[in-house]
Structure formats: C-alpha cells, structure tokens
C-alpha cells in the first residue's frame, strides 16, 4: 500500500525537462489566434484628478500644486536629464570630465493622456520575399480608431531650464560618476531647484526693462509646452522582428 502510494506520487513528479526551442514562423502559423484585446489607458500626471477631495469640474486637468497637492513642493514635479559628461568647471567653461554637473530640467511636468481604445492583436503579415515567394511573418498589431481619439489635456511642462549642481562631480576612468565631496544637501542638486519669478516694476536706463507681471509665480526657465486636444489617429501599426532574411538592414 505504501509502496503503491510512493509509486503514484513518483509518477506525478517525473515530468520531463526540455530546453526551450525557437518556434519557427510556420509553427506560429499553426496556432489559432483568438481575437485580441482592446485596451484603454489613462495617464494622469501631476494633475488634479477625480479621486482628489478638492476636485471640481472647474479644476480638472489643472496642475496639482495647491496646499496638500502632489506638487505643492514644486521641486518634486520635475523631470531632469543629465547628458553623459556635461560639466561646467570653476572658470565657467564647459568640461567633459569634472565640474558642476549640468541638468536639463522640465519643470511642472504634467498632463492627462487618455487612450480610449488601443487594439492589441496578433496577426500574420503576408509578404513576398526576394524570390517572389509568399511568406508569412507573425506580427503584433496595434490599432487606433478615428472615432475614439486619444484625449490629451494640458500635457507638457511649465518651463524648461538648464540647471547645475552647486557642488562638483567628476567622471572616473571607468566611466562612473562620483561627487567630489560628500554631504551635498537637497537644495544643492540642480534638478531640485525650484526658483520662481517675482513681479518686476518698469525701469528705464542702461539696464531698463518694461514691467514683468506675466511670469510671476512661474518657475524659472525659457520655454513651456502645453498640448490640448483630441488626437485623431486612425490605422494599424504592425510590429515584428526584423530579421536579415526579410530585410538586409537588420
């Protein structure tokens, strides 16, 4: 009795191990594809959304920088990029080895993108090869419908700025980057600088200027971008592996 149980149990676990093998295109073609999925994706980035207690229809799609909002501290709603080895040295000159590290900072990054319908299917892409033989290639098909446009609301950033760290860093021989001295504080990092413009009265003379009231309260920088509208996109995008038998560029 006990041996039988052991035998049964052993047979249960004696499954075969086999290495994974590449599926050929013709194998893939044998698989019966079922209808794909329709996805809808909505991204709300740093904006007041329907689940906020202070949401009203009037402040929908607005930058969430009020008291208690996720961007109340503006420095945490930045998107910053630092390109490899870009520094400014002590003389204010560009350096690719050592100095104050430079950042491209997108300030007040925000937006809502609502993809109402994204069709995701697997399809056979039929084509003729160089010898005019009909070939089949499995492909992912993403499809969009004109009558369900992608809704884009206030997508963009409030200002774009070049910032630098207040401390120096250097690129080591192995390509890694280290800060020259430890102990840098939060506000010394270029990407966490959140300076704002203040109102300026009109002045005349050598350094004169008309008053500046437009920028008041905006984060410093030189350009902002804001997109608004319904992006009507119709069509199918086939994505497939690019192999050298069908395309010499791969």
């Amino acid at each position: 009795m006990k041996k039988t149980v052991l035998l049964i149990l052993t047979s249960l676990v004696s499954f075969h191990l086999a290495a994974m093998e590449a599926l050929t295109d013709s194998d893939m073609q044998q698989v019966e594809g079922q209808a794909g999925a329709d996805l809808s994706l909505k991204l709300v980035l740093n904006q007041i959304n329907a689940s906020d207690s202070y949401y009203t229809t009037n402040n929908a799609y607005k930058f969430d920088n009020g008291t208690g909002g996720i961007c109340e501290k503006l420095q945490f709603c930045h998107l910053a990029l630092s390109v490899n080895n870009r520094y400014v040295d002590a003389n204010g000159l560009a350096s690719s080895t050592e100095g104050n590290k430079l950042w491209v900072v997108f300030k007040g990054v925000q937006g809502t993108i609502n993809i109402q319908k994204l069709g995701l299917d697997g399809v056979d892409l039929v084509y003729k090869n160089t010898t005019a033989m009909q070939m089949i290639k499995p492909s992912i098909q993403l499809s969009f419908d004109a009558n369900q446009p992608i809704q884009i609301r206030n997508f963009g950033f409030n200002s774009l700025s070049i910032e630098k760290d207040d401390f120096t860093s250097k690129t080591n021989a192995d390509g890694t980057v280290t800060e020259s001295a430890s102990g840098a504080t939060e506000s010394q990092y270029g990407y966490l600088k959140a300076n704002k413009y203040v109102a300026k009265p009109q002045t005349t003379g050598a350094n004169g200027s008309t008053a500046n009231n437009y920028d008041v309260g905006r984060e410093t920088g030189f350009m902002g971008v804001q997109m608004n509208g319904n992006l009507v996109l119709q069509g199918k995008l086939m994505m497939f592996s690019c192999d050298s038998t069908m395309n010499k560029r791969c």
């Binding site: 005349t204 004169g208 997109m227 791969c250």
Partner: protein, 518 residues
C-alpha cells in the same frame, strides 16, 4: 465541530522521499552573459509598419465619427502651445541701440505660439488648401496612408555597432548606437548616357508602399505679440502698443498662417544616438568637450521627387504653367476668407484680429485658397553629422548650445567627408545627398544613406553628371517659388514666377548654435 480524519497514514520516510523527489529537479541558475557572447548575438531590432493610417489633432471635445473627422476642418483646433517663459533682456528692449531703455525705444513683446491642427496623411487630391482629404472608399479614408513602407522595407528601430570608427585623436574605436530609420528610398531614377536625362521607373521593391512617397503634412498657427507687463489672461495681454511700455487696442498683434506640404516622402531618413568617442584636446580648433558624451547624427530627407521635367512652356506672348503643380508643393498662406476678400471667398466671416480658439474658443478659420507663398517640388536632404562628426549638446550653466563637432585634421576622417568633384582622387569618399542618390548603397534596389553633404532644391533642377551635383534650371519655363498660385500668362513668363532655387553640396565643417541671455 469538524475534525479531519485521514484514511491514509504516511510514514515519515515516504513523505521525506516525496519532498526529496519534488526538489531533486535540475535547476539552472541564470548566468551572466559576457560581452563577447552578447556581441555575437545578432541584433534584429523591431520593424514598424503603419498601415491605413492618418492623424489630425482636433479640438478637445466629444468623440466624432470618422466621416465628421474627414470632412469638418473647422474642428482642427487641437493645439501645441509654446509658452514664452522668462523676462525680456534689456539688450533686446533697447531697439534704437542708444544704450538706454526708455520711451525713445519701440515696444518689444514676447511671442506666444499656438500650433493647431497638425495633420499627417496621404495627399489624395493635390489640394493645397485642404489639411486632410475628405471621403472614404470601402470604409478606408482616402487620406489614409495605405502602407508607410512595406514588410520588407519597414521603419526600423534597432541597435547597431560600427567597428573601427576613427576618434577625435589618433585612435579608433567601436561605436554602438541606437538607430531609428524610416523606410529606404527606392532607387527610382536612372540617367541616360548623356548623364542628364532622367527616367523615373515604376516601383518594383516598394509596390504597395507608394503612399510613403506622397504624404501630406499640414498645420495652421497663431502667433501673438505678448505684453509681458500684463499678467496672464489680462484683457490687454496682446494689446502691446508701438512705443516702450504702451498699450493700444486694435493693433494686429497676431500672425495667422497655414502650412500645407503636399506630395513628399520621408524615405531614407534616419537618426542615430550614441556616446561619442574620445581623443579630442583643446588644440587644433577641437574641444575636449566633444569627448564621451551624448552624440547625435542623422539624415533628414524630405523629397518631392525628380524636378528636371517640371517645365512650363514659354513663347513671346504666352506662358503655360507645368501641369499638376499642386501635387508637390509646400504652401504657406495667411489670408482668411471673409468680407472683401479679393480672391472671392467672402464667406464665412473672418475671425477677430486677436482671436484664437485656444483662448476664445470657436472653430478653426477658413483660409483663402489662392494666396500665399508656393514652394514647388521641394527636395530637402540634410546630413547632420556622422558617428565621427557628432552633434552634441552643451551648456555654460544657464544657456545651452547645440554643436556639430569640427571635422578633425585627421586623414581617416576628412577623407570620408570631403569630395573630390573631379573624381581624380577616389580616396575622398564624401558625396552629396539629393533626390537621385544619397551615397553608396549596400542594398540592391534602394538608395544609400551614407552621403556627407546636404542639398536643398526648389522647383526645376537638373543634373549634368548623373545625379552627383545639381544645377538650377534658368530657362523661361523653370518654376520654383511663386507668390500666389502660378497661372498661365499672356506674356513670356508669369509675373509672380520667381524661378527655381538650389543649395547644393553643403558641408557643415563646424557649427555651434548658442542661446543668449537666458
């Protein structure tokens, strides 16, 4: 109360054996791949092929049916707004350059720019006043690009490595780059023995992908002069007067325009992203700043096709424009239809001179169909750098710069870039990218993309050396740029025909663009 009753009792040894058996399967840990192994792997990349596709950026609102999208152009109010941030400097406000900013200067405003209704589609009706062609056939819009490329000539996104790329110093290295390529340009053009007469053959490799050579790009835009002394949304925000810090209503502080580019293709374009090699020092005009940073290189090709046969007929008292001029034209126009329009489109009423849908709501304007600047058969082939002459980004901490690295004084680099136009010294391998060819091609049936010089041609342009260099046609039949549409005339040439234009063999030795006063 429930209790569990076992009918089979296990000996501990049985249980242990069972667990042991379960565990005694062969397990393979993940192992690190060496760089050598990785470099043996063929990077196949992702091929992308858009089909039956078009796009148009319409105003925020309810969903529309495809029929409405295709026919109602007044809905094209989706916009991209370029917000002017940062105060004006004193230098720009000192318009009379007397060293002081005061009432003797003209006013200077900031620029608000709204780009509306961006649309990309197939040019289905050669209409240079329509941003998206109407109608559909069997449920597929006439404006849809049937196949942007083909299965064997698709868009490609991959990673490649070029070995033995010369660096800025004495050495060389391998450069791995992220590569994004449009479909290749099929080799459609062949020259007769006279090296001048072009034959445009029918598509062979790109059958089914012809639409890629006949695209339509369209947009319209509003640009405002903004008074920075007024807060955002102030009623006078766009009422900047003529003098320093003055306000005046009724001024036309807005430019409104529409741009439509019919019948072009992007084929043959590519962009490469990589880390630059090292070796540059601050000597010989070079800069150590070129070393080991993000580099960009690309070929941007916007081609309308062969322009050598685009000729009108001129006699002593008649001039006949070439046929189908609107099939390959880039038109920028500013005039709206409305009361008093000289071109006859007197309805609907023109919008207010300071109105724009992003602020005031409403619909897209209706533009007059005859006015504007027409640029016929534009072929733009821009070569921006290469793996050994990259485009790099820089900054001094506030301003930024875009720099195309200087060509080093190094034979292995400059011989790849410079051209010997006589053909006597074949070790100089540079060439010009134009509509007929773009460097040597390794793929049969398609043009290459390895050329080093740029070319921009407008209108009637031909070659006398089988496509290596171009010449602008100077005959009376030549066309290129015109203000207002070209029409037949009863004199030897149309009065508004400005003729063809050409920039050929343009090589960028070193270019740096820097912003000031940010």
């Amino acid at each position: 109360m429930t209790t569990l009753n076992y009918t089979v009792k296990f000996h501990k040894t049985v249980l242990v054996s069972f667990i042991g058996l379960c565990l005694s399967q062969s397990c393979f840990a993940l192992e690190e791949m060496s760089d050598e192994k990785l470099s043996d792997t063929t990077g196949e990349g992702i091929a992308l092929l858009p089909r039956d596709t078009y796009m148009v950026f319409q105003g925020a609102g309810v969903n529309q049916t495809q029929d409405t999208v295709l026919t109602n152009r007044s809905l094209d109010t989706g916009y991209i707004y370029y917000v002017p941030v940062g105060p004006l400097s004193s230098i720009v406000q000192d318009t009379n350059k007397d060293g002081v900013v005061n009432a003797s200067d003209h006013s200077v405003g900031k620029a608000d720019l709204y780009l509306y209704g961006l649309a990309l589609s197939k040019n289905a009706s050669n209409n240079a006043n329509l941003r998206l062609d109407a109608g559909s056939t069997n449920g597929v819009a006439n404006a849809a690009i049937k196949s942007w490329g083909t299965a064997t000539n698709p868009w490609i996104f991959n990673v490649k490595t070029d070995l033995n790329v010369p660096d800025f110093g004495a050495g060389a290295g391998s450069v791995t780059y992220l590569n994004f390529e449009a479909p290749l340009y099929e080799n459609l053009y062949s020259f007769a023995a006279d090296k001048k007469t072009v034959t445009t053959s029918a598509f062979v490799n790109d059958v089914g992908g012809e639409d890629a050579y006949n695209l339509k790009l369209a947009f319209w835009a509003d640009g405002f002069v903004r008074d920075q002394s007024k807060a955002d949304k102030d009623p006078n925000q766009f009422n900047l007067g003529e003098g320093f810090s003055t306000t005046a209503t009724g001024r036309a502080n807005r430019i409104r325009l529409q741009g439509i580019f019919n019948g072009f293709g992007l084929n043959g374009s590519k962009i490469q992203l990589f880390q630059t090699l090292g070796g540059a020092t601050n000597t010989g005009g070079m800069s150590a700043f070129y070393n080991n940073t993000l580099g960009l290189a690309g070929v941007i090709r916007l081609n309308s096709g062969d322009g050598s046969k685009l000729l009108g007929t001129s006699t002593a008292n008649s001039w006949t424009a070439p046929a189908n001029l609107m099939s390959h034209v880039f038109r920028i126009s500013t005039q709206e239809c409305g009361v008093g329009n000289l071109n006859g489109c007197t309805t609907p009423a023109a919008q207010d001179i300071l109105s724009t849908p992003a602020i005031n709501g409403g619909t897209a304007p209706t533009f007059s169909d005859k006015e504007g600047i027409y640029i016929y058969n534009l072929n733009t082939n821009l070569v921006l750098g290469s793996l050994y002459q990259p485009l790099i980004l820089g900054s001094d901490g506030t301003n930024f710069s875009i720099e195309l690295a200087r060509i080093p004084n190094k034979e292995s680099i400059y011989k790849k870039i410079y051209t010997d136009y006589t053909g006597a010294d074949t070790s100089y391998t540079g060439s010009t990218c134009n509509v007929y060819n773009c460097g040597a091609s390794s793929i049969a049936g398609y043009q290459g993309s390895s050329a080093t010089h740029s070319s921009i041609s407008i209108g009637t342009v031909y070659s006398t050396d089988a496509g290596k260099t171009l010449l602008a046609d100077k005959s009376a039949g030549a066309v290129g740029v015109s203000f207002n549409q070209l029409n037949n005339a009863t004199s030897s040439n149309a009065q508004n025909n400005l003729g063809s234009a050409l920039i050929d063999g343009m090589l960028i030795q070193h270019m740096k663009i820097t912003t000031k006063g940010l």
